[in-house]
Symmetry: none
Subunit: 353 residues, 2 copies
């Protein structure tokens, strides 16, 4: 089952049975190198997480490191979920969007879109992103995009991305404190708060929207704001497959539209996340979505690991990891195409063997 | 699972979820009339095998004879496997390529490509194929081909085709002895060797490449060499769905390219066969593939009949039949589209009832 967070079930029901292209945005922000800021990956090698995630969802194996990314606590990457869905009910293509990686994934025969974007700095030191340029690249990509599927599921892998998203929302003047999720069950709020305070200190009162984004954002947030707006005059529906980071993309779009006095045709966009994000008591994605002037349909896929006894997977149900690599959107894709929770669970388990 | 024989998993993983057109090359060589040379069909009626295979994969019934082709031992044609896959996860079209048949299949509403090619003679008496012309027809077909699918799975049904393939490889100077498969568990090497010796005696030292092929080849081998080369400047990927016969197509291409000092863009081609061929101890497809100057990704579909108790199907696991009618490629198509071994097994069983 797919449950609405905001809006009605119509959007997602209209996609039932349709085939989707899966696009993964991969980006590094040096914010992830700050000790204790994220557990989305292997300490010291956090920059590899998007690279390994891309390899794993595409091939079922990792090439840039010996084994699949797991947190120090042993929570395996949500790429497992996305790959399991791709095995059970394949996306009609997987394409990669390279938005500043230290190490490119080792993939042949897969389309990887590159834009000459470099990894961004830690927001504590000012992200130094050419924000207007990255935004333009997102728009242009959307205008030229060739999509084989009947709609797009847009996922992301950006270690420390919830921290940059929270900083961005705060810098844009949203009352977003304690509304952003984290890969931790118990968010390390001291470290996070300190990084965010430092990030916000880089923002000047006279900064315009893109100047603010250049200090506190990450490439994925800014590029996808462009991508979504670029898709507005195309006949392609897109599901933002993620949690509060994707909600932040919408918050950025909201500010851009306010600046331009524009409106959003939200009939082409929805957000879909996991149950772990939707039910997270330490964040509030619904509140974030409701801060926009426009309404967007948002959903969560009713899937958890209650049917497994695998201890690493059980950690998801305890609140670790929660989302990423398009897991929420992938679960939606499986569920609206007749794939059961049992089948998904067994397939994820088989990938851990 | 799909396992590489040569190359990496990327090519086949990039096809996951994509829809394929299935093309079946059908041809008769009178080599099949030599007693004991093949068990791919009904003794005395071996020339009917491609006709019946085409009818069965397209319609699920045979029209040109009372029942489905089976060997004297009762091994049913691998067309069963291809048909089962088409029922479970349909190809987006099946098209027939008529390369010299005694009896045309009785099919309406299916596209059958004809080229005025006649069945070839027994290679023991000289095949008498207008090889350059058949090759040209393959090139031209590729250049004009309209493919509805996102890629092509190219199968074949040519009784005695492994014998003509072996003769061809030897005549082209490859060290191919004992590397070619056969429809028999225990290849009747005496008969085969005698036929091949007679075939090779037709080749003169002064013969050029196409003259050699005209003596020892079959229409499928030569046409498909043209087809593959003709697809080089088109944006269509093709999976050669077969075993050592398809490997021989590549060996022919290799000699043509050496003659023309040309190169192959192997990013558009892969080969996919069955586990029965890949694990056959009486042949060596990997060695054949490695004789080429170019590298091609080759795979086998990890499927066997371990889940059935049907005695006719169990013969496959004992080494009879092994491949044909695109079975290896069809199994790959099922597996990369989420169809399980259990489902395929049950569907094949149901077709035998």
């Amino acid at each position: 089952m797919i449950h609405p967070i905001t809006g009605k079930r119509d959007f997602i029901e209209s996609l039932r049975g349709k085939r989707a292209s899966f696009l993964l945005c991969m980006s590094n922000t040096k914010t992830a190198n700050i000790e204790g800021i994220t557990q989305a990956g292997i300490p010291g090698l956090l920059h590899l997480t998007p690279t390994l995630d891309a390899e794993f969802i595409s091939l079922g194996e990792v090439r840039s490191l010996g084994s699949i990314a797991a947190t120090p606590k042993g929570v395996p990457t949500p790429a497992l979920i996305t790959r399991a869905v791709h095995l059970l009910h394949p996306f009609c293509e997987i394409e990669l969007i390279e938005l500043g990686l230290e190490i490119a994934p080792q993939l042949e025969h897969f389309t990887m879109h590159t834009f000459g974007i470099t990894p961004s700095n830690a927001i504590s030191e000012g992200a130094s992103i050419p924000a207007a340029e990255v935004f333009e690249k997102g728009i242009q990509f959307a205008q030229e995009l060739h999509c084989k599927g009947e709609y797009i599921i847009l996922g992301e892998s950006v270690p420390a991305g919830t921290t940059t998203a929270l900083a961005t929302a705060l810098a844009l003047g949203y009352d977003a404190k304690e509304k952003f999720s984290s890969s931790f069950k118990n968010t390390p709020n001291n470290i996070r708060q300190s990084v965010i305070d430092q990030a916000l200190a880089h923002v000047n009162e006279s900064d315009d929207l893109f100047e603010i984004l250049s200090h506190v954002g990450d490439n994925m947030l800014i590029f996808n704001a462009g991508l979504i707006l670029g898709l507005q005059n195309r006949d392609i529906k897109v599901v933002l497959a993620g949690g509060t980071q994707m909600a932040c993309v919408l918050l950025i779009i909201n500010r851009i539209l306010q600046m331009m006095e524009g409106e959003l045709d939200s009939s082409k966009i929805a957000l879909c996340t996991t149950k772990w994000v939707a039910e997270d008591t330490n964040s509030d994605i619904k509140a974030l979505l409701e801060m926009n002037d426009f309404q967007v349909n948002a959903y969560y896929a009713d899937f958890d690991f209650s049917l497994t006894s695998h201890p690493a997977l059980k950690l998801y149900d305890e609140g670790e990891a929660k989302e990423g690599v398009g897991a929420g959107g992938a679960l939606m894709y499986a569920l609206i195409n007749g794939i059961t929770k049992e089948k998904i669970t067994k397939k994820v388990e088989s990938l851990l063997k």
